[in-house]
C-alpha cells in the first residue's frame, strides 16, 4: 500500500488544465501544416494557416487556443496499491479543475441541464476511473469542446452489418456533422462492448498520441481506409471544402454480445487538447 495525498491530485489537475488549454496536443500543429501544404482550396488554406498562427500565438501569449475550454473530462488510472489520504479523490479532482480554470482565465461552460444555471467554476468534471496494477496514479485531461461533442453518434448495428457496415456509419457520422465540429477533426471510434462502453471507447481513442496507429493490424488498416474515405467527402477545413476533413481516425475495440455490433463515434475539433501526468 502507498499513501497519496489528495492534495497531489488537485495540484496535478491544476497543471493539466494549464498545459491542456493553452496549447494543442503534441503533433497537431505538424498535421495542420501538412494539410496546409497540400491544400489547393484558397479558403480552406486560409483557415488552416489561421489555425497554425493561432496555436503559436496561444502558446507565446498564454491565451487559450480556443474560447471553448471545454468540459473537463478526466481519465484516472489508479494503481490498486494506492490509498488516498486527506479527503475525497473526486473532490480533489474537482478542486483542481476549479482552481485551474480560475487561475488561467478559462471559460466556465458547465451548467445545470434543466435550469441552465451555470455552476460558476466549470465543475463538476466528468471522471472516468479504472483500477490497474501498481501504486501510481495516471491522470489524463481531455478538455472537451461541445461544438464537436454535439456531433457524437451511437449506432447499435446488427451483426449482419459487419465491418463494412461499421465503416459506412463512421463516414455517415462525419458527413452529417459537416462544418459544425470545426474540421479538420480527429475521429474516435469505439467498436463493441455495450452502448455506453462503445461511447467510452470512442472517447478514449481520442487520448491516443497523434501519429500513432492502432497496434491491431486490422484496426490500423480500417483507420487508414476511413481517413481516406472521410477526406474524400470534401468537407475540408471549417467546411470550406478541400482535402483535409480529418487529421486522424483512431479505433478501439472490445468484445461484445453475440446479438450486437455497437459503434460509438466521438469527434474532436481541430483544437485537439490532451494532457497527461503521473502522480507518484
Amino acid at each position: 500500500m502507498r499513501d497519496i495525498s489528495v492534495q497531489k491530485i488537485t495540484d496535478a489537475l491544476v497543471q493539466l488544465v494549464h498545459s491542456a488549454c493553452l496549447s494543442l496536443a503534441p503533433g497537431v500543429v505538424d498535421k495542420l501544416r501538412q494539410a496546409e501544404l497540400k491544400e489547393e482550396n484558397d479558403t480552406a488554406r486560409f483557415a488552416l494557416k489561421t489555425l497554425i498562427d493561432n496555436a503559436q500565438l496561444a502558446s507565446s501569449n498564454a491565451v487559450p487556443v480556443c474560447q471553448d475550454t471545454g468540459m473537463a473530462v478526466v481519465f484516472a488510472e489508479i494503481g490498486q496499491d494506492v490509498r488516498f489520504v486527506g479527503g475525497s479523490f473526486t473532490d480533489a479532482v474537482n478542486e483542481g479543475v476549479r482552481r485551474g480554470y480560475k487561475e488561467f482565465y478559462l471559460r466556465n461552460s458547465v451548467l445545470d441541464p434543466i435550469t441552465r444555471k451555470n455552476t460558476g467554476d466549470n465543475t463538476p468534471a466528468i471522471i472516468h476511473t479504472s483500477l490497474v496494477l501498481g501504486d501510481k496514479v495516471k491522470l489524463t485531461l481531455l478538455p472537451k469542446g461541445f461544438g464537436s461533442e454535439n456531433m457524437s453518434k451511437l449506432y447499435m448495428l446488427t451483426p449482419a452489418a459487419g465491418v463494412a457496415g461499421v465503416m459506412d456509419k463512421v463516414v455517415e457520422a462525419v458527413f452529417s456533422a459537416g462544418s459544425n465540429p470545426c474540421p479538420p477533426i480527429v475521429v474516435g471510434v469505439g467498436i463493441g462492448g455495450t452502448a455506453d462502453y462503445a461511447m467510452l471507447l470512442a472517447k478514449k481513442a481520442l487520448l491516443r498520441d497523434v501519429g500513432v496507429a492502432s497496434s491491431d493490424p486490422q484496426l490500423a488498416e480500417m483507420e487508414q481506409i476511413l481517413l481516406t474515405r472521410i477526406n474524400d467527402l470534401g468537407i475540408g477545413a471549417q467546411g470550406f471544402g478541400g482535402k483535409t476533413t480529418a487529421l486522424e481516425v483512431r479505433i478501439e475495440k472490445h468484445p461484445t454480445h453475440i446479438a450486437a455490433l455497437p459503434v460509438g463515434v466521438a469527434i474532436q475539433c481541430n483544437a485537439h487538447r490532451v494532457a497527461r501526468t503521473e502522480v507518484l
Partner: protein, 174 residues
C-alpha cells in the same frame, strides 16, 4: 483580394459581398449565443429589449474571461445552427449581419434573402487570434449569464469569410 468592411455594414457593402469572399471587419458588433438569443427573442416579443439590434452585427461567441489589462479573453466563434430557431425573428427586427461558424437552416437562409442580410464565418479554433483584434468590450445586457452575456465589442481587421451572401449563396455548398 480581401475586402475591408466597416460596421455597421452599409447597404452598398452588403450587396457587394459574395459567398467565399474573405473580409476584414472593423467597428462595433454585439456578442450573443444560446441563452442570450432566447432572451432577445423574449424581449422583442414583450417590448422589454434594452438595446437596439436594428442594423446590428451579432457575433456568436462566449469569450474566456479577460486577463487583467485585456478587453477580452480567447473569443473565437461558436457553432451557429443552435441559434437558427431565433434568427428569423432577429432579422425581421433589423439584424443585418451574423458571425459564427458552420451551416444554417433553410429558414435562416430565407430570412437572409428576405432581409438582404449576410452571414459571415469566423475560423473556429482561432480564439487567441480573435482576442487580439478586439479593442474594447463591455457587457450591455444579461450580466448574470456570465460568458453568455451580451457584449458590445469593437474590432479592428477581424478576418471572416462570407458564408451566406444576401442572395442566399452559401460557401458550404461549393
Amino acid at each position: 483580394m480581401t475586402k475591408r468592411v466597416q460596421l455597421p455594414i452599409s447597404q452598398e457593402d452588403m450587396l457587394s459581398l459574395k459567398a467565399g469572399d474573405p473580409v476584414l471587419l472593423s467597428g462595433k458588433m454585439l456578442t450573443g449565443r444560446d441563452a442570450a438569443h432566447k432572451r432577445i427573442v423574449e424581449g422583442l416579443k414583450d417590448g422589454s429589449l434594452s438595446f437596439d439590434i436594428s442594423g446590428a452585427t451579432i457575433y456568436y461567441v462566449g469569450p474566456c474571461p479577460a486577463k487583467p489589462g485585456d478587453p477580452i479573453g480567447s473569443c473565437g466563434p461558436t457553432t451557429s445552427y443552435r441559434m437558427d430557431p431565433y434568427v428569423p425573428t432577429l432579422m425581421d427586427n433589423g439584424l443585418k449581419a451574423m458571425i459564427g461558424k458552420g451551416g444554417r437552416s433553410k429558414d435562416v437562409i430565407d430570412a437572409i434573402i428576405r432581409n438582404k442580410a449576410v452571414y459571415f464565418a469566423a475560423i473556429g479554433g482561432a480564439g487567441a487570434i480573435y482576442s487580439q483584434l478586439v479593442k474594447e468590450a463591455r457587457v450591455i445586457a444579461y450580466d448574470d449569464l456570465g460568458t453568455e452575456a451580451v457584449r458590445e465589442i469593437e474590432v479592428k481587421d477581424f478576418p471572416v469569410i462570407v458564408a451566406i451572401d444576401h442572395k442566399g449563396n452559401c460557401v458550404y455548398d461549393r
